[in-house]
């Protein structure tokens, strides 16, 4: 018997008993809908939890700090971040870019015309690696590698205020602080700083009461967009410039207070590493720790979240599975009924030359089709459930303020395939016993039935 002919025969049989087919398939539909709905909910909640980490910072960017020996003593050595470390880090598989960073150890005032700003973080970066970190720029370009350039974070203009003549105490009058968690009211126009020249003024103590200042002129090449990891006013400068500033301020390198001893002994406060993809983050973290440096990745937290939600998925899916089990008993019952009803027909078919495999195939097709019908309707109900849940007012359960919230229930393609496949599988499995019984029917006895 051809497969399509079998489907056609079975379909007509199902249509003959519409209400029974409907009720049996309904059982499967409820089970499938329960599985799809529950698992979709678990997946959606998990994705939201993971996404809030994503929004907070780029997961593929790792910050690496010098490692320290846990047993302090004369032989204890801290694992410093140097040029050599950069080379080592680059060799870890999965690492795309390595960007050393150094902070400024002193206060700095930013001047632009009549506007001044204080309290900005200054970070020296290696501009050569910058393009691998895909900085999102609101305006302009990132550091090109030439001297006396700067890139500012989105919040820098908000920290600039107009200097009051002769009264530095009243500076707050002109300063408007922008709450980063509040939408820009748009009342005051933002200060345009891109392609302008800034004076960076450093101050150091030269004696008990004497101060000395030094001014660096930099040109602002670009401004980063708001978003991931951009919390606060930051000025990015070329690494060499910050090192020079630190030297002038009386610092050099981190911690030791010593001078830099040649190119290879420049020590960095922190090195930022870009990983090719999320999947490789864990492996890179392990590699970094093996080298003896300190790092932390939200991936570790996400792993915890994943295993927690896997349990949730299993529990919720299990509830659905129980209802599918009940549905499968329903299918079995229906199939036994239908074989009882059609005993004579089966007998006729056997006399007409239907082989035992084709009889079995017909009944397996029938129960499989019931499962399939139930699965499809269950999927539809599951989709409706998911969209209803997603329409409900979204709470900020896992979210950071101002962050975009995703759907609460998510139905990925694999869930659709799994649900459909599983319901058909359940149908076929439930049909096995009845189909075997049908195949064993003796044609002679079947024909004697009226």
């Amino acid at each position: 018997m051809r497969f399509l002919d079998g489907i056609m025969l079975v379909w007509r049989n199902l249509l003959r008993r519409k209400s029974r087919t409907f009720l049996t398939a309904l059982g499967v539909a409820i089970g499938t809908a329960a599985i799809v709905g529950m698992v979709a909910l678990a997946i959606g909640l998990k994705e939201n939890a993971v996404r809030s980490f994503d929004n907070f910072q780029d997961i593929t960017v790792l910050d690496i700090y010098p490692g320290w020996n846990e047993t302090p003593g004369p032989n204890s050595q801290t694992k410093q971040l140097t040029e050599d470390s950069v080379a080592d880090l680059k060799r870890i598989p999965g690492v795309v870019g390595v960007m050393p960073q150094t902070g400024l150890y002193g206060a700095l005032e930013v001047q632009m015309g009549r506007m001044v700003g204080e309290g900005m973080q200054v970070i020296g970066v290696d501009a050569r690696e910058a393009e691998k970190f895909d900085f999102q720029l609101q305006e302009g370009t990132f550091l090109s590698g030439s001297k006396n350039e700067a890139v500012i974070s989105y919040l820098v203009p908000d920290y600039m205020y107009q200097k009051q003549r002769n009264s530095r105490d009243n500076k707050d009058e002109g300063h408007y602080y922008r709450d980063p968690f509040q939408e820009d009211s748009g009342v005051k126009p933002r200060l345009d700083m891109v392609n302008k020249t800034l004076n960076l003024v450093l101050t150091r103590h030269t004696g008990e009461d004497s101060l000395e200042t030094r001014t660096y002129k930099v040109r602002v090449k670009g401004m980063l967009s708001e978003g991931k990891g951009q919390w606060g006013p930051i000025i990015y400068l070329p690494m060499e410039m910050v090192q020079e500033m630190n030297e002038w301020l009386g610092h050099s390198g981190f911690g030791t207070g010593g001078r830099s001893r040649g190119r290879n002994h420049v020590e960095y406060e922190m090195v930022r590493v870009k990983v090719a993809s999320r999947n490789e983050v864990e492996q890179v973290v392990d590699g970094i720790k093996a080298l003896g440096y300190q790092t932390w990745s939200p991936m570790e937290a996400i792993k915890e979240i994943n295993s927690f939600f896997l349990v949730v998925q299993l529990i919720l899916g299990g509830i659905g599975a129980i209802s599918l089990l009940v549905a499968s008993i329903g299918i079995m019952n229906t199939m036994f009924m239908s074989i009882l009803e059609r005993t004579k027909e089966i007998g006729i078919m056997k006399v007409l030359g239907a082989t035992i495999p084709s009889i079995r195939q017909m009944f397996l097709l029938e129960s499989g089709l019931i499962g399939c019908l139930g699965g499809i309707s269950g999927l539809i109900v599951g989709y409706i459930f998911a969209s209803l849940v997603n329409m409900a007012p979204q709470s900020n359960l896992f979210g950071m303020p101002g962050e975009e919230l995703g759907d609460i229930a998510v139905i990925p393609p694999w869930l659709v395939l799994f649900a459909l496949g599983f319901s058909i599988f359940i149908g076929v499995i439930s049909g096995l016993l009845p189909a075997n019984r049908a195949a064993k029917i003796s044609p002679l006895q079947a024909l004697r039935q009226e």
């Binding site: 004579k344 078919m349 007409l352 030359g353 082989t355 035992i356 002679l444």
Partner: protein, 229 residues
């Protein structure tokens, strides 16, 4: 030989509870290819049992059945199904059409199990329904057809897989004598024109006389053979 039926010392015993009820006591039967044979006998004489054994619907308790040079006594159930599909046609007393299918579909069903492609089997089914005179009733369901018409559908169904042997169990039993004679004539016509062997069980002697040969059974034995001129 294709179209021949032969039984050697065929015995069959029913079990009724713990009691063995012998039905056939050693039947030796020979039907030649293209012959039209009627099996007659009173009820309980074992004629239907004999037909069921030849059809492979029951296993004999003794003896051999050879159809188309194949000993079917030792075939498995599935092999018997395939054997019937390729070699045998069936006509029942109570037609045994499938009520949910139209006349055409009932005839096609045999070919569906044989795995024929749709167009081919539709053509064949239509051909045989026209042959039995039901060209205008093809798309009717069995309950929309008269008894005679239903039996004609069942004749078409029995012929559609081109069997060399057609077995009929009281094909006229549910019909009035006029219609019964029509069906008998139809089968006789197909027997002659299509050169197919027919073995027909009947208890109507007047109809049996239409056959080439009439075999009488009594108490599980062949008691008389009559060749009709």
């Amino acid at each position: 030989m294709i179209g021949s039926i032969e039984t050697c010392d065929l015995k069959h015993t029913f079990k009724l509870g713990k009691i063995d009820v012998p039905v056939l006591h050693g039947i030796n039967l020979q039907v030649k290819s293209g012959e039209f044979v009627a099996l007659c006998g009173a009820s309980g004489s074992g004629k239907s049992t004999l037909l069921n054994l030849i059809a492979g619907l029951t296993k004999p308790t003794g003896g051999k059945i050879i159809i188309n040079d194949t000993d079917i006594t030792n075939l498995s159930e599935n092999q018997l199904c395939l054997f019937r599909q390729k070699n045998l046609g069936f006509i029942f007393q109570s037609y045994n059409l499938i009520p949910s299918l139209t006349a055409l579909e009932n005839v096609e069903l045999t070919l569906i199990f044989a795995g024929l492609p749709p167009r081919e089997r539709k053509e064949k089914a239509q051909f045989f329904l026209e042959l039995v005179g039901l060209a205008d009733r093809m798309n009717h369901k069995p309950n929309e057809l008269s008894g005679g018409q239903q039996q004609r559908v069942s004749v078409a169904r029995a012929l559609v897989n081109n069997p060399s042997v057609v077995l009929a169990d009281e094909p006229t039993g549910n019909l009035d004598s006029h219609t019964g004679r029509e069906i008998m004539n139809l089968m006789r016509k197909i027997n002659i024109e299509g050169k197919r062997t027919f073995l027909v069980v009947t208890h109507d002697l007047s109809l049996a006389r239409l056959a080439d040969r009439v075999i009488f059974l009594r108490d599980g034995l062949v008691v008389e053979e009559e060749v009709v001129a």
